[in-house]
């Protein structure tokens, strides 16, 4: 039982905290908020699909430190991101670049809307609007009802 307790404490110590670690935060609150916003756009490169904002991994911690340092130096989001892309590749960005290569990803949902709307408009033009005229049978039925 005591061994279990000891293991519990060791297990607890082995686990690092995520982004909101008071020890690492920037003193300037605006800069810290800025850094936090950036964290959610950057992938923890070794994790299973987590941003460095959420991840407990050591790499994520190092990346957070790097981003914080650059934010403190006053570099822009664009500069920080291109620095990260240079080192780790586009893989590190949670938001894929809006580049010709990724055009399919960004545009296909909207192309579907356009194509669908086009088909609908064409069909609406080809088919007569329903209020146009009653068929002869319907006219006869209507007359019958009116006479009644």
């Amino acid at each position: 039982m005591r061994l279990g307790r000891l293991l519990a404490v060791l297990g607890a110590l082995a686990c690092l905290a995520a982004a909101e670690d008071p020890a690492d935060q920037l003193p300037n609150r605006a800069q810290e908020a800025h850094a936090r916003a950036l964290f959610s756009e950057i992938r923890c490169v070794v994790c299973q699909n987590e941003s460095i904002d959420d991840s407990d991994a050591e790499v994520a911690g190092n990346l957070r430190q790097a981003v914080r340092a650059q934010v403190a130096d006053g570099r822009t989001d664009q500069q920080i991101k291109s620095y990260l892309v240079q080192r780790y590749g586009e893989f590190i960005l949670m938001r894929p670049l809006f580049s010709p290569g990724n055009a399919l990803l960004w545009l296909s949902p909207f192309l579907i809307v356009l194509a669908g709307a086009g088909v609908l408009i064409l069909r609406a033009r080809r088919t007569p609007t329903p209020e146009a005229r009653l068929t002869d049978a319907e006219e006869a039925k209507l007359r019958e009802l009116k006479d009644f």
Binding site: G11, E20, A23, C47, L105, V113, A124, T127, P130
Partner: protein, 668 residues
């Protein structure tokens, strides 16, 4: 011995599924009621077989029979009985058996209750459902049998993942799978309708209850999963656009589109081919989800253990089932008779637009989920597609859906009048815009996002209630008369009201929680205070050791105060499970109205002053509970709609039973 009996029952179920296909097909071709009846019996038998296998698996878990490989890998003698039972579906193999249980369960209900269906359609439906049974039970028997023994059983099991030892996660898979697999009936009915060449209003009416059941259960399943992720993972969020989450969301989106297009087919006989297409698509997405979660092809925070061989098999099943469904669609759909005509401004058109944008949003989720694979294969580039993409693309497309949503129900069928509808909605629009502007003026940060979300949410709620008031003629007649009219409304109308209001409630919660969340963390010694903002303070009163049934925990006791007044005591824990050597945290939630004070108890470490303390993370999650309340209202709406008189089993029976018997008669 029980495990062997279970395996035997499972193999029997496999054989009965084959019989179900053969008998139903034979009965359908030869017009023999005896054969189709035998096919229905086989469907019920297959369900009993899978149920027996499932019972055997539960028995193995309850008795901690570690000679069964699956039990040894996912259970432990010290686990509480409840988590021993739920461990049965905590693994890949067990959850596939649960899938088969749901599949054959639905199949037998269709076989035994669908007396109102024309016999040809029913025989074909039972046959298609049998084909799905053959594929999935076959897969379970030959590639993923959870009842297999191991040669050298361990003395102790490896324990269920502690994160899954939670009441919400225990009931999440049964709901989710009932939802996923409920789409199989819709799929079978769709394929059967294509085989019979008949898709009309009556078919839509038979299909609708099944899509409602599946959609409601899936809604509950996803919500439970989301809530689990919210309060077990300790990250303060509720949705991460992770591939596994997307896998459950895509069938839901397809089913939502289906519910709406089926209304048009049912009421007006139009859009029949599109409705059948969605019926096939919904279950295709369910199968795609099953494949994505189990193949390890995408990286996700919560996938099952990876096994490429099984992944390939599941992909083949997906290809066979969906491929033949869509091939049949391509062949038969052009010959379906065109439905009723409607003007560009009409309720049909509004629902068509809803479907257009919903489909595009579904494609965005599908494409975003699969794009890393596509990019890797096509250009060899490693690309991540994360929440920023989904929020932007999916969000803007859904924005369009939400904008037209309140207009649709007020529009007349066939030929509507937009100006008149907008005149009736003016106050809802005004309320939404004013509230959105107020939020924009006073909310920080990301006020544009919050303002838009609140405005859209109120537009939905206000617009939906307007429609209800219109139906009751509220304000134009006496209150008593309005009350009488409300009571006389069909259940389907109430269901729609609940579902649409629920969506509005969800939006309000997501907008305010998503932007107003406050996160603070501090290394606290006993007696220290932490300021959360909004007047909330927490002080650490003590830390103690707690022994659970199969874990040891450190529990912090924190008193929460608002402006000096005590509100509640939070007792978050940090649990250590010696069986697997894992540490998890138990979040403490302090409910304030619909908002949460969310406390996570972290590791022990040195504080700023050098004295030891515990890392405590506190979130203020404003309106967070509305995120979960909204979808539950939507599911409730589905349930209410299901109880509508016109959907009750037996009602169409009187209308069609005689005709069906007449057709069957001469052929015999």
């Amino acid at each position: 011995m029980t495990a062997e009996l279970g395996s035997f029952a499972l193999i029997l179920a496999f054989a009965l599924s084959i019989a179900q296909v053969a008998l139903s097909a034979g009965g359908r071709l030869r017009g023999s009621a005896a054969l189709t009846g035998a096919g229905e019996g086989a469907a019920a038998g297959a369900f009993l077989g899978v149920a027996a296998a499932f019972a055997a698996l539960i028995h193995a878990f309850v008795t901690s029979d570690f000679s069964v490989a699956n039990v040894a890998a996912n259970s432990h003698t010290a686990q509480p009985l409840f988590y021993k039972i739920t461990g049965a579906w905590g693994s890949h193999e067990g959850s596939m058996l649960l899938w088969c249980l749901a599949l054959t369960g639905y199949g037998s209900v269709v076989a035994l209750t669908g007396r109102g269906l024309p016999w040809k359609l029913k025989a074909s439906t039972v046959m298609v459902q049998g084909c799905l049974g053959v594929l999935f039970i076959g897969y379970t028997v030959f590639a993923s049998n959870p009842l297999l023994r191991i040669a050298t059983p361990p003395v102790e099991g490896a324990s269920l993942n502690p994160l899954l030892q939670d009441p919400f996660f225990a009931i999440h898979p049964p709901f989710l799978y009932s939802g996923y697999v409920g789409m199989s009936v819709v799929f079978s009915l769709g394929v059967a309708a294509l085989i019979e060449g008949r898709v009309d209003a009556a078919w839509a009416r038979w299909m609708r209850p099944w899509s409602l059941v599946a959609w409601s259960l899936l809604t509950i399943g996803i919500t439970l999963g989301s809530f689990w992720s919210y309060y077990v993972l300790g990250w303060g969020g509720w949705w991460a656009w992770d591939p596994v989450e997307n896998a459950s969301f895509m069938p839901w989106l397809a089913a939502t589109a289906l519910l709406h297009s089926a209304t048009v087919t049912e009421k007006r006989g139009a859009m029949a081919a599109w409705t059948v297409f969605l019926a096939i698509l919904a279950f295709t997405f369910s199968m795609l989800g099953a494949f994505l979660v189990r193949s390890g092809i995408l990286t996700s925070v919560h996938a099952f253990a990876i096994d490429p061989k099984r992944g390939t098999l599941l992909l083949e099943i997906l290809g066979i089932a969906a491929g033949s469904g869509f091939a049949l669609f391509a062949w038969r759909a052009p010959s379906l008779p065109p439905g009723g005509l409607f003007a560009p401004i009409s309720r049909e058109s509004a629902l068509l637009l809803n479907n257009l944008f919903l489909s595009a949003a579904t494609v965005a989720v599908l494409f975003g989920t699969l794009y890393p694979l596509i990019a890797q294969a096509a250009f060899g580039a490693a690309v991540s597609v994360g929440p920023p993409y989904f929020n932007l693309v999916f969000g803007s497309l859904m924005g369009a859906v939400l904008l037209i949503l309140p207009i649709g129900p007020l529009m007349a069928w066939k030929r509507g009048e937009l100006v008149g509808v907008l005149q009736r909605l003016w106050w809802a629009a005004l309320a939404a815009i004013v509230a959105g502007a107020l939020v924009y003026a006073f909310h920080e940060p990301r006020k544009a996002f919050a303002g838009t979300g609140v405005a859209l949410g109120l537009w939905l709620i206000g617009g939906t209630l307007t429609e209800l008031a219109e139906r009751a003629r509220l304000g134009r007649t006496t209150l008593a008369e309005a009350g009488r009219r409300l009571r006389a409304l069909p259940r389907g109308a109430w269901g729609m009201t609940f579902a649409h209001v629920g969506l509005g409630v969800f939006l309000l919660g997501a907008a305010i929680d998503g932007t107003g969340k406050v996160e603070t963390a501090k290394v606290m010694a006993v007696g220290d205070q932490i300021d959360v903002g909004g007047g909330y303070h927490l002080s650490l009163d003590g830390v103690g050791a707690v022994d659970g049934p199969n874990y040891q925990a450190q529990r912090g006791t924190l008193s929460v105060t608002k402006n000096g007044h005590p509100i509640c005591t939070a007792t978050p824990e940090r649990r250590f499970y010696p069986a697997g050597g894992q540490t998890t945290s138990k979040v403490a939630l302090c409910l304030r109205g619909v908002s949460d004070v969310y406390v996570v108890f972290g590791e022990q470490r040195l504080g700023v002053s050098g004295s030891p303390g515990w890392l405590v993370r506190v979130f203020w999650n404003p309106w967070a509970r509305m995120i979960f309340l909204g979808p539950l209202l939507m599911a409730l709406g589905g349930g209410i709609s299901l109880s509508d008189r016109r959907l009750r089993i037996g009602l169409p029976k009187r209308a069609t039973g005689a005709a069906g018997a007449a057709v069957l008669g001469p052929a015999e």
